[in-house]
């Protein structure tokens, strides 16, 4: 990869080596954004399937009851929670709020995210 700035240097965004906490926030936001965009696309394709009648609908519902789909749903929830909370931190910072304590805010928000994700994991997988 060239040393000077180039658009195709983007894989370096995801390289966490020799980086500080801020980059982890940056990486998390990008990964979750990509994940959510992909989900939206898949969601639209799945909705398109429903228009193909009752059998297609039943088949689809049976498919989404699969534990693998549940795991996927959990990942979507996790991505939404992480991206949303991290986004609040960045938006507040852009209004000049909490810039000097952004690291502490990041850790606190990610702990909240972890708690919410754990709650949903329990809810989704305990109900069978």
């Amino acid at each position: 990869m060239p040393n000077q700035p180039e658009a195709n240097n983007w894989p370096r965004w995801f390289d966490p080596r020799s980086r500080s906490l801020g980059t982890f926030g940056f990486i998390l936001n990008r990964v979750t954004a990509l994940g959510l965009t992909l989900y939206l696309l898949m969601h639209l394709i799945a909705l398109g399937q429903l228009a193909r009648g009752a059998d297609a609908y039943d088949g689809f519902i049976a498919l989404v009851k699969n534990p693998l789909f549940k795991l996927g749903e959990l990942l979507v929830i996790a991505a939404g929670v992480i991206h949303g909370l991290n986004g609040i931190r960045i938006a507040l910072n852009s209004f000049g709020i909490g810039v000097r304590c952004q690291k502490g805010t990041f850790i606190a928000l990610m702990l909240i995210a972890l708690f919410i994700i754990a709650f949903f994991t329990f809810k989704m997988f305990s109900e069978g």
Binding site: A7, W10, R12, L21, G22, T23, G25, V99, Q102
Partner: protein, 256 residues
């Protein structure tokens, strides 16, 4: 000086202009409290006179000796060997990123200096403006030399540009130091001109809040805070402008 010498392997980035990069390893016996720049100079003096690198002051003032040490941006004249490795360990030395390599550890910072110049960067400022706005300002009475001005903190080393993930993919992005300079100029002279220079998609809004610039800055400039402070100004001006009557409405509101 400590008594015991350490044996350290220095893996140094080598590259001729436009050529393929490669790594050459030099093993030196060093005092662990020596600086990385001392080791680089020793490599040049005793092992390989073709190695190129930049330095001048040796005391964190000129900003010339910035390199990546084990992947992290450092001013090598103030980075001790013991802070980055151990006896028998390895130290990787690479040029700064986000600048074209001229040769080995030397990068072309011409564009960066031009941008700093265009921002109106002035290395001297009145005491109250030279520090960060959230710091306790010095006064001529309580400063050491009783001078009314001092050198500003930014030494134009470029470490913040090298570490910035946004600068990594956008060559038009002016980068943290230039935005910090515009903020510094705005603090001294609050005119719209400096805000306008920063308020565009390759300026304030290209920053993606990784805060790495503030982490690596060896001089306490806190570019990330300055960027966010300018964003606050731009955002509050925009919000106020929504509620401000337009100039035509203003005219109509004036008594005949």
């Amino acid at each position: 000086m400590t008594e015991q010498l350490w044996q350290v392997h220095f893996k140094v980035h080598r590259q001729r202009t436009g050529g393929k990069p490669y790594v050459r390893t030099f093993t030196l016996d060093v005092d662990p409290e020596e600086y990385i720049l001392d080791a680089v100079e020793r490599i040049w003096a005793l092992h390989d006179r073709t190695l190129t690198y930049r330095h001048a002051c040796h005391h964190s003032t000129c900003g010339a000796c910035g390199m990546r040490v084990n992947g992290r941006e450092k001013l090598t004249c103030i980075t001790t060997i013991s802070s980055v490795t151990q006896n028998g360990g390895t130290v990787r030395i690479d040029p700064l990123r986000n600048f074209p390599v001229v040769s080995d550890l030397v990068v072309d910072m011409g564009n960066f200096f031009l941008r700093m110049d265009r921002s109106g960067f002035n290395s001297v400022a009145p005491l109250a403006a030279a520090c960060l706005p959230y710091e306790q300002p010095l006064t001529a009475e309580n400063s050491i030399d009783h001078e009314p001005e001092r050198l500003v903190d930014c030494i134009e080393c470029g470490l913040c540009i090298s570490v910035c993930p946004a600068a990594n993919t956008d060559k038009e992005y002016v980068g943290p130091a230039v935005l910090a300079s515009l903020h510094l100029m705005y603090v001294q002279n609050p005119t719209q001109e400096f805000i306008d220079q920063a308020d565009h998609h390759t300026g304030l809004w290209r920053c993606h809040s990784a805060y790495e610039c503030t982490e690596v800055c060896p001089s306490g400039v806190d570019p990330a805070w300055r960027i966010m402070d300018m964003r606050k100004k731009v955002m509050s001006d925009r919000i106020k402008s929504i509620f401000r009557p337009r100039s035509s409405e203003k005219k109509n509101a004036q008594p005949a």
